[in-house]
Amino acid sequence: MLFVVDTSCLIVLQKLGWLDELRQPDDTFLCPTKVIHELKNNKTLLKWINKGIVGVVKVEKPISITAISTTDAEVISLALERGAGILSEDKELGKKAERLGISVYNLASLFMLFYQYGRIDQRGCLKRLRTLADEKFISQTLYRQLLMSIKS
């Protein structure tokens, strides 16, 4: 699958020491140049991006969306240009992208997808979801719902 990664996801992955979760042979992860500008003070993350695990792409024709920042607009534009899904922890960005017909994922849904495709096992999926909940990146309610769903 093809994903456009937003800064919020990269930051969360870095905080959890999980950046290499994006090293997937069957998936491609891209981010627009504005996301890189946003990370100018985060040398570790920039160094990791330079390894090429996430491709940096210049957006050809950024669309203009009202009530949204230019970086948010670039993330959405790149997803539309490439027919990609968006990987973002920002629920408001997600809502705007969804209205444009883009599939939106956060790390919880990405790990669910990895589990669905057999890239991680049930235990691995639950462990990751638990960490996301413990670290307050997802709500305990969502964690419990997913937990019940997986275990049933």
Binding site: V104, S139, L142
Partner: protein, 108 residues
Amino acid sequence: MKIIISMPKPLMAELDELKNQNGRSTRSRLIQKLLRDSLAREKQARVAQLYVKGKKTLRQCAEILEIDLEAMIDLLRGLNIPLDDGRSPQNKMALKIARQIRERKVRV
């Protein structure tokens, strides 16, 4: 600019105690610091609510507070606010995939 404020004695005593502990030179400076910190916290809480209520994106909130996105994420975590909520498209996607996994299990 100067203002005159009245204060109950116990509060004044507490203020003086804090002034002595912190080694602040004057009451005025200490009150300025406390007020500045309190206003900053109020503003952070107000902006965080804009995100919770779906009025602003994470980036817009960070821009209002003049902090970067990472600091904004840390601020929400500090306030015990998860990045998602039950109605976010990302959560709906996670639940949709969970449903698909469950249905496949049932079929097998």
